[in-house]
């Protein structure tokens, strides 16, 4: 009996984007292509194009908020973002996600110049594309990302992140220097669309925007993210052009869930459970539409890599 293969009739597709500029394009990176899909994740009967998901390794230049299991996995290397990034490269990361948390004026208050020098040092040590965040302090981030943007002109970084309440300075830093920018929104499809509209109205090309709709971790509201992501993807494929941009999902917050890091009676080895906590969050992100995953633990990255290969039928 012939079983009908019910393909959804999508009219839209996700825009393609390159991160990291190669030498021919004036940079020094080993570039990555993401996006370009015409169907829901990993359904080859609907979208024969191969799906690329880029896996980013989390690096921070201040360890205050870094989960212990993540620190322990890298040992001494976490004290130096350059060594940490090199370790990620050895562990198979596709790109590096560098948080310049040391620039926070309420903590170490490292200067924008010094932060930019750090970014350049990481870039010198690894040729992977880079995502760069400030410390989450709006006024300081504007200055930090401006300096970083200038110093790495033409390298096509991905700068994080712009949000509704403050996006102009980061957008300017991206536009002036050929970088891409992350548009962040808080668990809501309309807000996700809103930030893309704000950025593009301001002059950022739609091909230079990636959305971050906030990936809530397993047990911490994952179901909201799963559905918001899914709705964003369905709207994009149904023709909503403002949502036809790649999506980034940060899974590192999984380690904040109590069950990911506390001993729980009868719940098995804590580290193993934590790794699966992050990996399960990653898997939900993959199936709901992520194009880039940010991961903290190298074991979670190996699992996510296996998952992507598995969904592509390569394992």
């Amino acid at each position: 009996m012939e079983v009908p293969v019910p393909k959804e009739k999508w009219t839209g597709s996700i825009g393609e984007m390159e991160l990291g500029a190669s030498q021919e394009k004036g940079g020094s990176r080993h570039p990555l292509r993401i996006g370009g899909n015409k169907g829901l994740p990993f359904l080859s009967f609907e979208d024969p194009a191969e799906r690329t998901v880029a896996l980013a390794g989390f690096v921070a230049d201040s360890l205050d908020d870094v989960p212990s299991p993540v620190k322990e996995a890298f040992g001494e290397a976490v004290n130096d973002p350059v060594r940490w990034a090199v370790a990620w490269k050895d562990k198979g990361a596709d790109l590096i996600c560098l948080h310049l948390t040391s620039t926070n004026p309420e903590e170490k208050d490292v200067s924008p110049e010094e932060a930019a020098a750090k970014v350049m040092a990481v870039m010198k040590a690894v040729e992977l594309p880079l995502i760069v965040y400030g410390s989450g302090h709006p006024e300081k981030d504007a200055k930090v990302l401006e300096k970083v943007g200038e110093a790495a002109k033409g390298e096509r970084l991905l700068l994080g992140h712009a949000e509704e309440g403050g996006y102009k300075s980061i957008a300017a830093a991206a536009m002036a220097n050929g970088h891409a920018v992350i548009g962040f929104s808080n668990l809501d499809i309309n807000l996700a669309k809103q930030i893309v509209i704000l950025l593009t109205d301001y002059g950022v090309g739609r091909g230079d925007v990636i959305i971050d709709p906030l990936m809530a971790a397993l047990g911490m509201g994952l179901e909201y993210s799963y559905s918001v992501n899914e709705r964003i993807r369905i709207s994009a494929l149904s023709g909503d052009s403002m949502l036809q941009v790649p999506m980034i999902c940060d899974c590192v917050s999984s380690w904040k869930a109590r069950e990911a890091s506390d001993d729980v009676p009868h719940a098995g080895d804590t580290l193993e459970r934590g790794i699966w906590w992050e990996s399960t969050t990653a898997l939900a992100a993959l199936l709901s539409g992520a194009d880039i995953l940010v991961l903290g633990h190298p074991a979670s990255m190996r699992i996510a890599r296996d998952a992507v290969k598995g969904f592509r039928g390569e394992a």
Partner: protein
């Protein structure tokens, strides 16, 4: 499901309103959307009923395994995406136990099953079933084993054997527990269907590709077996995702009856199995049978299932209580928030991040977030006061002050009058808490 117009043709067209809808056409539209039942119309002719019954049957059959209080419901799903309404019957987890285990091993395995029991946001997370597998090939041994385990557990059971005679012997002694029989395939379909019919038990039907599976299901149906569970036997993650998606979509979108049944999946041990299981929880698996399931894997899987099967219209609520954060004492500050799980988790995680010891009072707002609850009148000075009194919060924190969410700064005066506490307006966003508390 047929279209509203097709359904309308079979209705009495009296527009009597007895179905609680104003017209027959309105009723037909509700039927077409699965929002009304055929039985709601008392005037339907027999011919009309039989014509409509087949098309109004649920697109995915409801199959029950187990008996009495211990029943697992599978199937009867109506959605492809949980945000369209909800997923109804959470993926059941079964652990496999083979009849070649020694006494000690069996005892350990059963104790392990009992130990996997967690409470989380008011729900119990646990294993739902056991799958008893015949590896000995010996009917007597398998039967004795099934009898033995059945006496030790009330969990619904899956019986797994390749040989219909072996399965029949074991099934007949526990048929009143209504086990799921695993199972029929191209080599034994007739015999297995006979066993299922004799015992009135549901039966899995397995094949390596979907077209062959649909053929076998049709054949089983002709043999008189209706409670069928599909075993699509994916060999890798891609197969699993695509086969489960095609099965669900063809049932829901195309009303293709041939595969309108719940899905069973056999999950291998190790990392590949864990990836398959997580995928199946999100993508339409009804019953997962685990070769092995260490606790460190079981818990994330069970929480994933809890998350995915939450009704999107009914928020998960945490218990209204006084929560200590970072080992607080009498001189630690007191804050409050609502019992909407997402709000609570966010506030809790930001408080922990601050490393400042504090007391967090959770107020029952029926699962609404701060501003929504305030606007809906579910968060009032009175309800906050009652919550503080119920937990004795004002005796635990002796600062004589209450930190309130910045979003509801306007509650300050009334709260001060109601509680006598000094009211301190906190940040609007929970992410501002660490900085706020440290200063």
């Amino acid at each position: 499901m047929a279209t509203a117009i097709e359904i309308f043709k079979h209705l009495p067209k009296k527009n009597c309103g007895d179905c609680k809808f104003p017209t027959c056409l309105a009723f037909a539209m509700q039927l077409a959307n699965n929002k009304a039942k055929l039985d709601d119309c008392p005037h339907l002719s027999e011919a009309g009923r039989s014509a409509l019954a087949s098309s109004s049957a649920p697109p995915i059959r409801l199959v029950k395994v187990g008996s009495g209080k211990n029943v697992v419901d599978m199937g009867d799903e109506t959605e492809l995406y949980r945000h369209d309404k909800r997923f109804f019957h959470p993926t059941a987890f079964a652990l496999r136990i083979a009849d070649d285990l020694g006494e000690d091993e069996l005892y350990k395995r059963l104790s392990y099953v009992r130990s996997l029991h967690f409470e989380r946001v008011g729900q119990v997370l646990k294993l739902d079933m056991l799958e008893l597998e015949c590896r000995s090939g010996n009917a007597e041994r398998f039967t004795a084993f099934v009898k033995r385990v059945a006496s030790e557990t009330e969990l619904p059971l899956v019986l797994r054997a390749m040989d219909a005679a072996v399965l029949s012997a074991a099934a007949s002694i526990i048929r009143e527990r209504r086990p799921l029989l695993h199972g029929a395939d191209v080599t034994n379909l007739k015999q297995m269907c006979a066993v299922a019919k004799n015992c009135s038990c549901p039966l899995t039907v397995g094949a390596d590709d979907l077209n062959a599976l649909a053929d076998l299901v049709e054949a089983a149906h002709k043999e008189g077996v209706e409670d069928i569970v599909l075993d699509p036997r994916p060999s890798n993650l891609k197969d699993l995702l695509e086969r489960c998606t095609i099965i669900r979509r063809s049932a829901i979108r195309k009303t293709f009856r041939g595969l309108g049944y719940p899905i069973y999946l056999s999950i291998p041990a190790g990392r590949d199995g864990m990836l398959m299981a997580s995928t199946a929880v999100m993508k339409y698996g009804s019953l997962l049978s685990f070769e092995d399931l260490p606790a460190s894997n079981a818990m994330p899987l069970m929480v994933l299932r809890q998350n995915i099967y939450t009704d999107p219209q009914v928020p998960i609520q945490v218990k209204p209580d006084l929560y200590p954060v970072n080992n607080p004492g009498p001189d630690s500050p007191l804050l409050f928030t609502t019992n909407f799980s997402l709000t609570f988790f966010t506030v809790m995680s930001d408080l922990e991040k601050s490393k400042v010891p504090a007391w967090l009072q959770v107020v029952d707002t029926e699962g609404l977030s701060v501003l929504t609850a305030y606007s809906a009148g579910k968060l009032t000075a009175e309800s906050v006061k009652n919550a503080l009194l119920a937990t004795g919060a004002m005796e635990r924190s002796k600062m004589g002050a209450l930190i309130i969410p910045g979003m509801v700064a306007r509650m300050a005066v009334k709260l001060n009058e109601a509680t006598g506490l000094q009211i301190i307006v906190g940040p609007k966003e929970s992410s501002g808490l660490p900085k706020f508390l440290r200063s």
